[in-house]
Symmetry: C2
Subunit: 369 residues, 2 copies
């Protein structure tokens, strides 16, 4: 949710090895009684987001998860349970477990079904914030499958023509392999922008572009402070004139597939967002789909490579600004971390880690010398 701004620091940046970031987060989770395997699931997801440059969905969220676990708003030891099954579907109760634990469980089930009958479609209720939506399709892609995941979230999007929020940022993610490690990996919120982008403008004292956020009367606002405090984001597409009702429709679609279908909370039934941790179970709904492309035309990955190339090689408007494919930014993020030899966290993030280490009595986060 809350984006981090990388400031120019006078001192040399403190880098954290990917393995050390993971170790630290596992230790944090274990300190609030999360079993080893589940702590690893959750830490892999968070460090995976940082590695890909999605800092908002990485260690940035650690404190929130720890808070939720500490007050038992999330049950870190809970194991998801299958409530109903058919050859291609399953209905799962996440039992208020950690988002990554529920998500991995459901996607693994979907993968198993896809390998047997071609498609696996698994809906979970009783889940929690599941992090980067693209994490779960990647799990299916490792098995040569096409993966999809969607989740509902706390209300932050105003339906077109409305002045109050009734849907979340409700992301969807879709991933498909091409050859030689290339792939298509879409991971997007169905709002025009994430709250974090508004926060960045606010910190900069800059105006918001049209189509990002509404004021309390339901009109477009360019005032970042007002946009942030109102908490009514425009759906993808912005105003009605620029087809914001399509983004609103997509956000609703995500909620139908994740919240309504699973019997979880949905729309305004979902609790309000809080960075500090909530005192009630979130009962979020999610859906995980795996499809075996070999059930259709042979040569899928070869065609994906050609498809990706056609998009990336479209003539750019500005030759210094190449055309990207969904997922390319994340690949660049990973390359940057690999080149630097570690993840560069913000000073504020590092302070939070120091505080957490002390509070939870674990080994502090170590830096690369």
């Amino acid at each position: 949710m809350f984006y981090q701004i990388r400031r120019n620091m006078s001192a040399a940046p403190k880098l954290v090895a990917v393995a050390e970031s993971r170790r630290f987060m596992i230790d944090c989770f274990k300190a609030v009684k999360v079993p080893q395997a589940y702590a690893e699931d959750q830490a892999d997801l968070l460090v995976g987001a940082d590695y890909r440059g999605h800092f908002s969905h990485g260690m940035n969220r650690l404190e929130m998860y720890i808070n939720d676990l500490a007050i038992n708003a999330t049950d870190g030891a809970a194991t998801p349970k299958i409530l109903k099954e058919t050859p291609s579907t399953a209905w799962v109760d996440g039992q208020n477990g950690l988002g990554a634990v529920v998500g991995n469980f459901c996607m693994d089930l979907a993968i198993k079904k896809a390998k047997t009958v071609g498609v696996g479609w698994v809906c979970a209720k009783g889940s929690n914030h599941y992090g980067m939506a693209g994490w779960y399709p990647m799990r299916a892609m490792k098995q040569g499958l096409v993966g999809v995941s969607m989740t509902n979230t706390s209300p932050l999007m105003a339906p077109t023509r409305a002045k109050e929020a009734a849907l979340g940022t409700n992301p969807l993610a879709v991933g498909a392999n091409a050859t030689n490690g290339d792939r298509f990996l879409l991971d997007m919120a169905t709002t025009a922008v994430a709250v974090g982008k508004i926060e960045i403008q606010r910190r900069k004292g800059a105006k918001l572009p049209d189509g990002w956020a509404q004021d309390p009367d339901g009109n477009n606002t360019n005032d970042a402070e007002l946009g942030f405090s109102t908490g009514c984001l425009y759906p993808l597409g912005g105003s009605e004139l620029t087809s914001g009702y399509k983004g609103y429709g997509l956000g609703a679609m995500v909620d139908v597939f994740s919240g309504v279908m699973s019997g979880a909370n949905y729309s305004t039934k979902v609790r309000k967002w809080t960075h500090a941790g909530a005192d009630t179970a979130a009962d979020l709904g999610q859906v995980f789909i795996a499809v075996d492309p070999n059930c259709f035309a042979p040569g899928f990955e070869e065609r994906m490579t050609d498809f990706n190339g056609r998009l990336r090689n479209t003539t750019p408007t500005d030759p210094s600004n190449p055309v990207l494919l969904a997922g390319d930014k994340e690949s660049h993020g990973m390359n940057s971390v690999d080149e630097a030899g570690g993840i560069q966290y913000l000073e504020n993030q590092i302070k939070t880690c120091c505080m957490l280490a002390e509070k939870l009595n674990i080994k502090p986060l170590q830096f690369i010398d």
Copy 2:
């Protein structure tokens, strides 16, 4: 594609009964050797679009289909063929048949599979323009299922940062029943707007809003004439600043699921759009998905009713402009036709019908007295 403007006509409007519009279109198709059942499939789709107020996708397209059939660019007698099957999937060759024939065949197959194993996922290659994307989910909804369909189309959308088109308007449609005939029915192109909306501005001599269309250099244009002639629509979301890359990602996702997965044409391999009919087979790709909501939490339709109400009842910005749900505009369109007692076509459309009746030697379109 081409929107129709309802002008104020001095004479009383000429109304056409829904059944008569259907009769006329069936006769047209039969005149170019389409078998009765397939002529009905295609006419039902077109009159269904007109009935719902989607005039661009209704009888407006008749001439294009007839042209394609007359020169055998589409094979009106072709029967789709299953190439490969699993319990939850099928790969179909549309054999260059009419879009509605291929679409109905595939969705019926998906429905059958969903009823057996929970999900049916059917991909077709060798298809043609399949009309209103929402038509196929409606078929699944009649069976108590949730339906999805997507199709690729001729290149008209420029990827973010590009100055040439590499994806079509690539629509997706999703439908789910609520109780008492209410439902959620999303049917949207993944471009910001359809070409027809640009044509309307052009006819009016009005400017285009930002985020609709590009000029030949890849920049935003407000010049409707230039936007129309360039044929590079912005994806949903508009420019990069307003997250147009999400709409671009969605358009690509539709092509992955419809074109790439089915082994049909995709991206720039799809033939250029022509209203007059083309001289090569389109080989479009499509996907049809049916899901049985009873495989998940019981009471799906009751929750959909509550969900729909929560969205429609959000406080409106302008109380005279109520908040709508995806599909509400189409319901209003049907009510208008029912109240008027028939469909009011444009004068130009009626002229085209006269011309077609003469050319094909069939009974002209009749009006309500």
